[in-house]
Amino acid sequence: MKLEINYYDVKEVRFGAATAFSEGILLINKGELIRLLSGDPRIVCEDIAFAHPGERVRISNVLDITEARIKENDDHYYPGMLGPIYRAGEGRTRVLRCAAVLEIGAMQGFYGGLIDMAGNGAQLTPFSKTINICLLTRPAPGVALADYGHALKRAGLAASVYLAKAARGITPDDVEIFDLPRPTKDLSALPRVAYLFQLHSHGESREPFVYGENSRRYYPTILHPNEVLDGAIVCGHYNISTSIRNNTYTILNHPVVLGLYRRHGREVDFRGVVISPEPTSLTEITRTSMMAAGLMKNVLGADGVIITKEGGGHTDVDLMENCNACERLGIKTVLIDNEWLGSDGAGEFPLLASSPRADAMVSVGNVDAVVKLSAMDRVIGGERLSDFGTSLAGEMTIPLRFIPNGISQAGFTYLTTEDR
């Protein structure tokens, strides 16, 4: 499976008469995009707005975050979600880099996030460094939560494909090849490492989609890393907190997958990725952890595995069970997780499960930490978050868990905790 990604770096976004990309400037025909998204009767696209890094802008009610992407020889991306099912991870993909597409939508039961493009808050998220193209939407009257969720998902993905079309026929700024070659080269001296990607699977609107299907319908299975990097998995869970879902942008630019990929052939032999749902009963967790570890050991032949989880405290159990299952087979594990330490950071038990075998953990921070945000001049996306009481104008304090990738369970963050 060979994937070639062509990167087009976006330096500025403006409205224009026609949607086009040239010399780093992305012009968007606002009316055309709004019409495209409002075609779905379940959703109303009210407006499109942008925020550039450094602007004193606060973006609220951020649901999923995606990237403008398209297959080079096709009008599609996100197989199984927008169009036909095809195998992700092959051929040529075009990406508008340094920009992100934000689904903005407010509804009771949706957990939106907050992004500041400047000030204190900008240090807490990578999305203060992307040019953010915001799709401001609301549900059409009388539409149920789940239906609005589906419609919003389609809208976000449709917008990202629509925008990526604009860069057709232009020379890319950067090209990267993703290819795990069969051993023509002798990799036997290199440590054999794989990645176990736990996907939240606790019900409708609380799960990512894998090739268009809810994660809970899957048993632990193997994906080629290219599939993860090329749209096979899409975030669909609006009904859980920002901090405990991996947004699509993070999956497309998965830091663990990219980190292992870029070391392949030199420091590691990257054996592949196992995705696993996070079931809701202990019996099922015993089954999935047994199967996932088996795939790691007996099919991928991994000697070392990085495991990430997705979700709240319950999924610490999955994390520890997966750790135990792998370590029992002689596989060395490293786990990435956030901590639950209370707003003062003094919580005695950092996680809701533990294991004597979990001796190598990386912390992505305290989900309960409270952060101070500087006053901003403008708010995009609504003056209130659906599940946070205070007004969003001006200087404010807010729990870290509202900021996309303030907590990143996939490891796409610099934030961590330190003893004081």
Binding site: P255, G259, D303, V305, M361, D419
Partner: protein
């Protein structure tokens, strides 16, 4: 000129040793003992206005109550800063210092700092509540510890950031602050995995609290048929200490005849435990190992018998590792001998 009040125990307060550990709290004007070092280090910046001296036993037998008793004495001096100890590795003194600092901090709202050796059992109880400067295990570490205690107190008083545990020399409080690392979490994870796979020493970013929970052993089903063993860390050994058990930080344990203990008592045995006043136990060994009462009960048929040997070590300042090894050794003997239950008497 900052106003400092200092808390010390009966020993550092120059009242006496273990025999004075029951001393009730009193207050003295100015600095006493190590408090004079505080004065010397503060120079013109401040002074110890008063020193509270209290016996370790009096305090540690009812910490919260005694702290409440002492608080008004401190309050009367309207101090800016409270310093306790340092307690080094003394467990009861550590409890006193920790509880006093916690109480002062909470009730008077002023900074309170103490110092302890990391393995002082009081560390586990107080580190979350109170800044504890890391010290050596005895007072040889006084000259090194006190400047750090003062520096930290000074920072807290002036609302400056105390710095990391490593920078300021205090024991990690188990309070985590959110910070930005230099590398992405994913990159740290990959580096950690490669180190772990190479067998190099690794450090986790999320340590679990040291619980070492042991599941309770099943209860004795039939007391009448049971053999009960006596164990103590009170250091009660034959007077010549034939097994050279140390009086502190013991690495060894011994076993001695219960018959001899019953018949000869303190004529034959005495406590070498350095961590408390052994006078009472040396007057009557039954105050540590209740051989008289157990023998009565054995005669009345409450249980089958007392295991012929009692097991001894000295618990004071034993490192966790030593304690574990000693415990394992004694446990193995009890197990081999088929003992049904054990009474462990600790001081």
């Amino acid at each position: 000129m900052i106003r400092v009040v200092h808390y010390i125990n009966q020993f550092f307060g120059q009242i006496g040793g273990e025999e004075k550990a029951g001393t009730t709290p009193g207050i003295v004007e100015g600095a006493v003992g190590p408090g004079m070092l505080i004065d010397r280090l503060l120079v013109e910046r401040g002074r110890v206005l008063a020193t509270i001296i209290c016996g370790d036993n009096y305090f540690s037998e009812n910490p919260e109550h005694v702290a409440a008793e002492i608080l008004p004495l401190i309050e009367a001096y309207t101090p800016d800063l409270f310093i306790a100890g340092p307690a080094f590795n003394a467990g009861r003194y550590g409890i006193a210092c920790g509880e006093m600092c916690k109480c002062v901090k909470e009730k008077l709202g002023i900074p309170a700092v103490t110092g302890m050796f990391p393995e002082n059992p009081a560390v586990g109880l107080y580190r979350r509540h109170v800044y504890i400067i890391e010290t050596a295990h005895t007072a040889v570490g006084m000259a090194k510890a006190m400047p750090k205690i003062i520096d930290l107190g000074w920072k807290l008083l002036h609302h400056e950031r105390p710095g990391t545990p490593r920078e300021a020399g205090y024991l990690p409080r188990g309070i985590k602050e959110t910070v930005a690392a230099d590398t992405l979490a994913s990159e740290r994870a990959i580096a950690l995995l490669l180190r772990k796979m190479r067998g190099e020493s690794i450090e986790t970013e999320i340590p679990f609290p040291e619980l070492d929970l042991v599941a309770p052993a099943p209860p004795i089903a039939d007391l009448k048929g049971a053999t009960i063993a006596l164990v103590t860390e009170g250091g009660l050994v034959p007077k010549e200490n034939p097994d050279s058990i140390e009086s502190a930080r013991a690495t060894r344990w011994g076993k001695y005849s219960v018959d001899e203990l019953r018949e000869l008592g303190c004529q034959r045995f005495s406590s070498i435990h350095r961590g408390f006043d052994t006078t009472y136990i040396n007057e009557d060994c039954n105050r540590l190992l209740p051989v008289d009462v157990l023998s009565d009960m054995e005669r009345r048929g409450l249980f089958k018998g007392i295991h012929p040997f009692f097991f001894v070590t000295t618990g004071v300042a034993t490192t966790i590792d030593n304690a574990r090894n000693i415990g394992k050794g004694i446990a193995a003997e009890l197990s081999d001998a088929g003992v049904s239950g054990a009474i462990v008497a600790a001081t």
